[in-house]
Structures are given as C-alpha cells and as structure tokens.
Amino acid sequence: MNRVIQVFTKESFLVPLFAIILGLVVGALAMLAGGFNPLLAYESLVVKVFGDLYNFGEAIRQITPLIFTGLAVAFAFRTGLFNIGAEGQFIMGMLGAVYVGVAFDLPPIIHAVVAIIVGALMGGIWAGIAGYLKAARGVHEVITSIMLNWIGMYFANYILNAFLVPKGQQRSEIVHDSAVITLQALSNFLGGARVHWGTPLALICAVIFFIILWKTKTGYELRAVGLNPHASEYAGMSVNRNIVKAMFISGLFAGLGGACETLGVFHYLAVMSAMPGYGFDGIAVALIGGNTPIGIVLGAFLFGALSYGAAGMKFSAGVPIELIRIVISSVIFFVAAHGIVRYLLKPILAKRKEEGR
C-alpha cells in the first residue's frame, strides 16, 4: 500500500493529474459562462460512458484510435520530433484500408491483414515525407505535417470520388466482408457496440512501442537523437536517417489506427469536409501520458471517454460538444506549461518535502 501511495504522489504523476483537473476546471468555467450547469454536465458525461454495456463498448471504440495516434505522436516526441500530422496519416490509413477492402478480392483474414498493412504503410509513407523534408531540407516538421494533413484530406477525397464512391453518393462502397475486423461475439455481448480487433491490436502496439524504444538498438538511437542530436551525431549515429525512421514508424501507428477504424467501425469511408480529429487528440494523449506506453493507454482512455461522453453532456445539460475540445486543449496547455502547474502545486510539494524529512 505504501508503494502505491508513493507512486501516486510522485511529481511525474501529480503534474498530469493536476493538468487534467485544471482542464476540467477551465471547462466548468466555460460552462458557467455559457449558463450551463457544469456538475450536471460532467455527471451526465460519466453516466453516458459507464451507464450501460452498449455505451461502454462504444466508448472503447472511441478510445481505440486514440491509443494509435497517441503512440504515433509519442514515438515522434521521443526522437525530438513533433508529429502534428497524425491526423493526415490517420486519413491515409483509412484510405489505404478502404481501397484494399473495396477493390480487392482476397480470402478472409488475409484480406483484412493486407488492408491493415497497406493502411499502415500509407500512414508511414505520409509521415515519412515530413521526416524526409526535415532531414534533407531542414523544413520544420510541424509546418509540413500540418500541410500534409490538408493535402491528405483532399487527396483522400479525390481518390474516393474518382474510384470508390458510386455516382451521386457521398461515401465509398462497403468493404468486402472478408476485410471486416469486427469482434462479433463481444459486439453481441455489448449490445451491438462496434468493437473490433483494432483494440487488442492497439494494446499490442503499445507493447511494441515499448520494445522498439527500450529493447532494441534502433530504439536506443532514436531516443539518443531525441535527447541530444549533437552528441548522437558525434557518437556516429545518423541524425537524418533516424529522423526519417522515427517519422515513418510514427506514421505506421497512425495509419494502423485509421485502417482499423475503417475496417472495424464504419466499413466505408465518407467524403470528408473536416478532419476526423483523432490525430489532434493523439497529441493530448501523448503529452498527458508522458510519452510512455502505459500513460498513453490511460490517456487515450481519458480523452476517448471525454469525447464519447460529450454526447451525453449535450443531451442532458445542453452543452455543445465543443466544450470537450476546450477541456482537452487546456490540458495540453497545462502539460506544456507544467511550470504553471508546479507553481500552483508549490505549497503541496513543499509540505511533502517537510514531512519527508
């Protein structure tokens, strides 16, 4: 028990925790300003997520892509790169998977596996472009990957309209049954919630994330470049090659997320007028999770549940769902500016030190 308490009072845990609390407080203030009841809103949010099996299953569906994009953003962070383009890579993953799912005829399982791999590779290549431009031309990855988000969205729309969407419709044909990755038995148990193989795959990816970064030579190099590019270069590592590699792997995670979302949830891809948003939330997930695999899974759970529960908040308390965007961005802000959190925590931390003596 003592050890548990120790873990819970560690500063590395306290800061994200307080960032979350501050984020929720900002959200509550925004609700008060808008004339809503924040307590009712947050309560209905929790009820929506945990109220019944169906909604819980749907919340899991919402959480799954965030694990993928969280891993993607965190992987790049570990190499000192800010992959704000997980959004575009996610879209490319969806596109690759839906293309294989609709246009190819393959035996069951193999079809799904091929579709997922193609989706992941598309995401990886899309991120790799930003990595290459950073390594070879010195262009800041934030700007290129943001631009690639827009380009990716319009590119996907173009491919959809040109090849996959039946005339007069706004979405692609349904992928063949052989490519669908729904977890049918579990879905039946959860009252038809759209749960799929992407969830276990996401958890496996979290383990792979750990193994690559901490148990392989490649991962050692990637982290070294992230911590100190100059020292790494001096030690004989190629900083440029590691940048491209890190972005590629990062994009693989995001692309996987997109592929699983298409094959597991919707089974089609609609023409987009706005970004799906999973990539952006992935940034919050990675930051709140401290770029560690367990932290990311927990962070994805938190933000996925918040996003899913927002619908309940709208239903019971009338709060526009964008409120959750305010909460999530505030959390990102407070994690980035952890100095503010530390400053607010000062009395608590100082007290702890005294007691420790």
């Binding site: 590119f155 959750i324 961005s329 505030s330 990102i332 400053y343």
Partner: protein, 322 residues
Amino acid sequence: MDWLVLGSNLIHDTIVFSTALIFAALGGLYSERSGVVNIGLEGMMVIGAFTGAVCTFFMQPFFEPGSVIPAWIGFVAAIVAGAIFSLPHAVASITFKADQTVSGVALNFLAAGLSVYLTKILFHGAGQTTTLTSVFSKWHIPGLSEIPFFGHAIFEAYPTSYLAFIAVAITWFLLFKTSYGLRLRSVGEHPRAADTAGINVFRVRYNAVMISGALAAMGGATIALTTTSNFSHNTISGQGYIALAALIFGKWRPVGVMWAALFFGIGQAAKSLIQILGLAEYVPTELIYMLPYILTVIVLAGFVGRTNAPAASGKPYETGSR
C-alpha cells in the same frame, strides 16, 4: 478571353487572399524576432475571425443597414481579442519557459474549440454565425483606379489590404529605424547581452507576443469581414501555418514576408482563375483545394536557408543564464 484583364484580375485576387497572410506573418515576425516561436498564429486568427464576425453581427442593429461602421467596430474588437488571447502563450513560454511549439499548438486547439462553442451558444446551436450584412467593400482610390491594368489590380482593394501594406511599412520602420526595434531584435538574437545592456527581456517579449496576437487577429477578421462574410469552423483553415511558412520564406524581414505572403496568395487566387478559364472541368476540385498547401510545402522544401532564424527563437530566457 482578354489576357490583360485576366492578369489584372489575378493580381487583384492575389491581394485579396494575401491580406490575411500578410497580417498574420507580420504578427509572427514580431514574436519570432523577439525569440518566441508562435505556432499559435492559426488560433489567434481564428479568435480574430470569430470576434470580428460576432461583434459586427451584434453591432449591426445599431446602425442603418449596409453601414460599414459595425465591420470596423468588429475589426477593432478582433485586434483587442487577439492581443488578449495571445497572453496564455506569452505566460507559458516566457514566464514559465514552456515548450513554445506545444503551447502554441494547444492555443490553436483551444481557439478552434472555444470559438465554435461560443458560436453555438450565441447563435442557438448553429455552428456558424448568421451571414453579415455589414462587411468591408472595396475602395476605389480616386484617379489611381482609372489606370489601365494596375488600376483594377491594385487600387480597387479592400481597406484591410491597404492597411496590411501600411503595416508592412510601419513594421519595417519600427524594426530597423527605432530603438524599440533594436531592442526587439537584440532580445531575439542574444537575450543575455540585451539583459546586460539594461533591456527588460521579459517585457519586450510579452509586448511582441501581444502585438503578434493583435496582427494575426487582424488577419483572421479580414477573412471573416471580406471574403466569407461569416464565421464557421473552417473560416480559418491552415492560413496561420501558411503565414508561418511565409515568415520563413520571407527570411523574417517585413518586405520579404510581404512578397512571400503575396506569393502564397496566388495559390488561393488561382482557384478562381481556374474556374474563370473553364478549366474546372479538367482539373478535379480537390486538387485545386490542395494547391495552397502543396505550394507551401514545395516552397519550403526548395528553399534552403535555415540559418536565417533569429538566434534565440524558441529558447526561453532565464535570468542569469548564458
């Protein structure tokens, strides 16, 4: 089709679309010249567009229909809102030495969420404001607008476009001809030396970030009050980041930034050109929409000049550090 008319139209449209980029890129220039990276330009533009549109909307009933005064009130309100909205970024990156890129991105997301949230509250659940009746109309400069070719191209622009070019001149003068500019640049190049010389690094940076927010908001308000006549979630779609690209392409210099912004404006102006020329049948619309973003990537990739950034840009300053 008369090619002269076409060329004149292209320049005209380029100026229309570049105006917001010029404002925002100039905003970025103040901030980055003082040593604070401002990825948050996009969010500050969103806040500007939102405030501009909403204030104009609620001012409209107080003036006769079609009056342009509400639009000006909205524009000024946007400037104030932009300066205020930039404060969290300043506090985080200057006082609390946060990662400036992440803090800026957080601000962008906050702006996106906050503006739509407030829009839905103010407009009874609608995701966008009602179409504005009071918006800026183009000013024909007497005499000059009669000049063949250049008259229509340059002297029939929105008032905000003229303001943007004036802002370029003012920024150039401020930056290179006044002691304020010298302080700003020295803080961005070598804060320690500036501190030793008695300059308050923190104050200069706060100042610069707030100017940055005000200018970016002017850019956002320009879009809402000239081209779209309302505010919705996609009124600002990446222009803040394109403005950052213009800042880099323009080598952090006011006039260079202006040319870069004009260049990126062509990407958007080309949209309407393609439609006028009747090429829309042959070119998929999606590719046309992609154009400004592709142009930005290509230009940045083809442009090698990494050493131009202000030396201390992105680095928090700690008193006593070397």
